[in-house]
């Protein structure tokens, strides 16, 4: 029984690695301008895990849901709950694959846990601040002296604004910043960020730049959403530059922490807003929900058909590797 479960786990890891390598390889050659939407970038991180999960679950198929097929083959290992002894030859290699994976994910999981702890400490602190209303929106003001504006929290995201930043911005800039942050709240981007970071921690072979591309696309989306609400894309572009100027006045940036887009992130966002006819960004669509729900549908269909074929295909590949 243990061999069946371990073999399924090893198949999960191996397939996530293989699909991840293909996806990351293709993504390197995709120009940024091809995918302005955030969902395709979230998909690049979720797809390898979805494929791996489908194949590894298919390995459990014949015994619990159908008749045992073990007498139909004699040229590869059999993974079947009815005859666990037949999967015995896979015990050692599967254990090695899983052990190597667990060791490789450890640093990422620790980093994620530390980041989560930092976020939750911040959210706890933010929730202690007195809420204030700006129009229809509830915000918390801080006196950081830095030009910061952010949205934090998964279940009930909170918008945080620096009081000095707010005072320095004009009326239209304020509206643009607020609507941009509301875009993050409506799209539940913090939830997506958490899920994608967790998926990346489990797939250390995927490059971090995939997450940064999602993040950049999410910012573009919220910029367009703000532009639609404010009614003028150039007003949002101007707000970005205004906040950038205030940020430059307090610059103490550590170059080691620069994202993949560096300064071009801001440039690209402004250029995207100024593009004639740029599509408005409707909020209220969470990337994880948009991807996971159809994926679960596909998974359910695969389990009905052609799950059994997938099961045999995986066994055949394992047989080729084993012999």
């Amino acid at each position: 029984m243990t061999a069946v479960v371990l073999a399924s786990g090893a198949v999960f890891v191996a397939l996530a690695f293989a699909v991840g390598a293909v996806v990351a390889g293709l993504a390197r050659f995709v120009p940024r301008s091809w995918f302005r939407a955030s969902t395709p970038w979230a998909l690049t991180i979720l797809l390898p895990l979805a494929c791996a999960l489908t194949a590894s679950l298919a390995l459990f198929l014949p015994a619990p849901f159908g008749s045992c097929h073990c007498d139909a083959h004699d040229h590869h290992p059999h993974i079947c709950f009815g005859h666990p002894a037949l999967a015995q030859p896979l015990l050692v290699p599967a254990s090695l694959v899983l052990a190597a994976w667990l060791v490789s994910v450890l640093p990422g999981v620790v980093r994620l846990a530390v980041g989560l702890l930092g976020s939750f400490r911040r959210i706890y602190a933010v929730r202690r601040l007195t809420p204030e209303r700006v129009g229809e929106t509830e915000v918390r003001f801080v006196d950081s002296g830095a030009a910061i504006a952010y949205t934090a929290g998964v279940r009930a995201p909170v918008i945080v604004l620096d009081r000095a930043l707010w005072a320095a911005l004009g009326e239209r800039d304020r509206e643009a910043v607020l609507q941009h942050e509301r875009g993050h709240v409506d799209r539940a981007d913090a939830l997506t960020s958490l899920v994608l970071r967790a998926c990346l921690a489990l797939q250390p072979w995927l490059p971090w730049s995939l997450f940064e591309r999602w993040q950049h696309a999410a910012e573009l989306h919220c910029d367009r959403h703000a532009a639609e609400r404010v009614g003028d894309p150039s007003a949002v572009a101007e707000a970005l530059v205004s906040v950038g100027r205030l940020r430059a006045a307090h610059a103490d940036t550590d170059p080691a922490h620069l994202g993949v887009f560096g300064a071009s992130g801001l440039e690209d966002r402004v250029a995207s807003l100024l593009e004639p006819g740029s599509a408005p960004g409707s909020a209220r669509r969470n990337d994880v929900v948009a991807i996971v729900l159809p994926m679960l549908g596909v998974l359910a269909l695969v389990m009905v058909w052609p799950g059994d074929l997938l099961h045999h295909a995986v066994e055949t590949v394992l047989g080729l590797l084993h012999h």
Binding site: R140, D162, T253, A263, E267
Partner: protein, 132 residues
Amino acid sequence: MSSPPSPALGELETAVLDVLWSSPTALSVREVLTHVRRRPPLAYTTVLTVLDRLHGKGVVVREKEGKAYHYSPRVTREAWFGERAARALAGAAPGRDEAVLLAFLDSTERVDPQLLDKLSALIAARRGGTAK
């Protein structure tokens, strides 16, 4: 006591607030003056100004008793320092590893003033083009 506002306070304001926190009852300006330990001693008018400023910031409440105002802190010492700590933590620039946070502008992004000038010119040109 209600949820505290937490503006930045000067050294003198903190010393006066400390006296109010140490007292179980509301204090007059003269009572505060006798309790506050400073070298050289403070003038009555200085304490009055400081209390007035603290009242203006919403940190203390005052009630008129006879001809003079009596002052008491609006928040407990614990609530005040809790709020200060929360503000400091909430106001820290977001780090790259914070899992559930999205900033308006990447706080780790280096912003070049020349780039900002170029972008401003781009926006102005676009506005000019639209206006035509």
